[in-house]
């Protein structure tokens, strides 16, 4: 079985962000980028578990991003992916989630794929759009908020669990298909040194974005983004909590309830 996993190279969760002079994005200078600690790492771990449990399965990681995204793909290869493709975009290229999905679809069309897995949302834009949009562009069924999956390669069927408000659904699904993974507590594996070394020799193909864009002209949405960020802002620093002084737990409880009712008006 051939699995494809979309991974995005994003600023590390602990990074402090500064607004770029353009006012519409963050300043990448001094930012540490990673695919670790994000939704994508959980998705990659899920696909590597499928590979471990189903001999003959391959995992191909794909990323759309600037040249630095190669590091993210190398990290994914070190975790156990077999192959990687980078759709290389210049730093000035404007993307939005749907154009990203179109570019991913255009490269995935040229790679064997039984199952395409993406994260529930990218840790930076938190759009949560690429999975379903990929389903449309590839002409495949898609399911989101997936919390568990089992594959039956013989019958070409998947059994997946997905989160819905107030419960959980179990779906039967034919593949090829696209799934967005919402995974609970799973621990992504840490690459070992031999695997890091091995990863350097695994195939990593680079596709310039210019090779794909012309073909997108005729797709719905075309070769340009259809949404535009007009401002990127950091919230004013919070003052920190108002600490309630008290002499007994009862007094603390009384003061809190009063504050929530009279000041915050949330009770």
């Amino acid at each position: 079985m051939h699995l494809i996993v979309g991974v995005k190279h994003v600023p590390d969760a602990d990074t402090r962000l500064r607004v770029d002079p353009s006012g519409t994005t963050y300043d990448p200078d001094g930012v540490k980028f990673t695919i670790n600690n994000t939704y994508d790492e959980a998705t990659l771990e899920e696909s590597l578990r499928l590979k471990d449990g189903n001999p003959g399965t391959t995992v191909h990681v794909v990323s759309v991003g600037p040249p630095r995204a190669e590091e993210g793909l190398r990290a994914a290869l070190a975790m156990g992916a077999d192959e990687a493709t980078l759709v290389e975009v210049g730093t000035g290229t404007e993307l939005d989630p749907l154009l990203t999905a179109r570019l991913l679809a255009a490269v995935i069309r040229g790679i064997p794929h039984d199952l395409v897995l993406v994260g529930r949302q990218a840790a930076d834009d938190e759009a949560g759009q690429v999975g379903s949009a990929l389903g449309h562009y590839l002409g495949l069924p898609s399911a989101g908020y997936v919390t568990g999956l089992e594959v039956d390669p013989a019958s070409k069927r998947l059994h997946i669990k997905r989160y819905v408000e107030g419960g959980e659904e179990t779906l039967g699904m034919e593949f090829p298909a696209v799934l967005s993974i919402l995974k609970g507590a799973n621990d992504p594996r840490t690459p070992t040194l031999p695997n890091i070394l091995k990863a350097r020799r695994k195939p990593l193909r680079k596709v310039p974005v210019g090779d794909l864009l012309p073909a997108l002209e005729t797709w719905p949405g075309g070769a340009k983004p259809t949404s535009r960020v007009t401002a990127f802002q950091l919230p004013p620093p919070r003052a920190g909590a108002k600490i309630l002084e008290y002499t007994s737990p009862e007094e603390a409880a009384g003061k809190l309830l009063a504050a929530l009712r009279e000041e915050a008006k949330v009770l």
Partner: protein, 328 residues
């Protein structure tokens, strides 16, 4: 300027979600801000007659109903085709809104991809764009930043739950039945085999307007009922940090954070939770955050609005006691 708005409602499981009511109300306000236009409520599913009055009560101008057994279960591919068929009767300039429930967040990107328009998810503000279309605001980077996004006429947006007021306006919007279009092959490749519903007396975590979350500071599973008792008495949902889930005190469905659920309730009470970044990204957008923690230097106090420095095992019983005394 006028703006026509199609609201795709979420009524999975046969009940109109509060989030759908919120979106219908915000659509009305959006049309008013634009200075004219109409609100269409679009219902896709099966056996929807019972909820029609609940939709009309939110004051849309028209209701479009696509009710057919083939649409009983939600699937993004089939529902996207259904929504496109509904759009045919709605004049431009128009936009499509839906609540950012699991269903809306999966449905609208698929629809937007098919239409070739813009899509934005989890909007916390929606205004008409003088250049046509709408501008929305949303948070990114786990609440560390916000962006404004311009979406052209014809675009789709989902609205964050628990963010917009639902205010009913009596009305008797006419109902038009829209026939089901042909459902493509890929949309027939999925079937729902079973649905497990959460117990009726529990409140869904992502929909709850009050969330009470407990962490390792509760010391052991034997004390975790304090979190659940407080949640129940406040009419909210209980939740947990990953440390609690990893220790097996409570199931993964309780987990809030990067690898758990994202919540943005009106009130979030964090009890014995240190406030690791992976936890904060799942809850820092909550309107009012309360932290109860023994350690005055715990990072949770940086994002909290109110803090109590002290022993959770003493403070929480006192809170429960005070609330019980009010409502005997």
């Amino acid at each position: 300027m006028t703006l026509n708005v199609l609201v795709l409602t979420d009524q999975r499981g046969g009940t109109l979600k509060t989030a759908s009511r919120e979106t219908l109300s915000e659509a009305r306000r959006l049309v008013e801000r634009a200075g004219g236009g109409r609100v269409w409520a679009g219902l896709v599913g099966s056996g929807l007659d019972a909820i029609l009055p609940k939709v009309q009560e939110m004051g849309p101008d028209s209701v479009l109903l696509m009710d057919d057994p083939v649409l009983k279960d939600f699937q993004a591919a089939a529902y996207a085709v259904a929504a496109r068929a509904m759009l045919e009767g709605i004049p431009s300039p128009r936009v499509i809104l839906a609540p950012a429930t699991a269903m809306g967040r999966e449905w609208l990107p698929r629809l937007g991809a098919a239409l070739g328009t813009g899509v934005a998810t989890e909007a916390t503000e929606v205004v008409p764009d003088p250049e046509g279309g709408i501008r929305i605001r949303r948070t990114v980077f786990g609440g560390k930043a916000t962006v404004s996004v311009a979406l052209p006429e014809g675009s789709c947006a989902t609205l964050r739950v628990n963010t917009f007021a639902a205010d009913p306006r009596p009305g008797q919007a006419p109902v038009t039945r829209v026939p089901v279009p042909e459902i493509p092959k890929e949309a027939r490749a999925i079937s729902v085999e079973s649905t497990v519903e959460a117990p009726r007396d529990t409140v869904d975590l992502t929909q709850a307007s009050i969330v009470v979350a407990g962490g390792r500071g509760l010391k052991g599973p034997e004390n975790f009922h304090l979190v659940e008792d407080l949640a129940r008495i406040l009419g909210g949902a209980p939740a947990a940090s990953r440390a609690v889930v990893d220790a097996g005190w409570r199931p993964a469905s309780y987990q809030v954070g990067q690898t758990g659920k994202t919540v943005a309730p009106q009130l979030y009470i964090a009890i014995g939770i240190s406030g690791a970044i992976q936890h904060l990204v799942g809850m820092s957008n909550s309107r009012c955050i309360v932290a109860i923690n023994r350690d005055a230097a715990a990072p949770i106090f940086k994002v909290a609005h109110y803090g109590i420095v002290g022993d959770a095992l003493a403070i929480v019983p006192a809170l429960i006691g005070a609330l019980r005394a009010e409502r005997p």
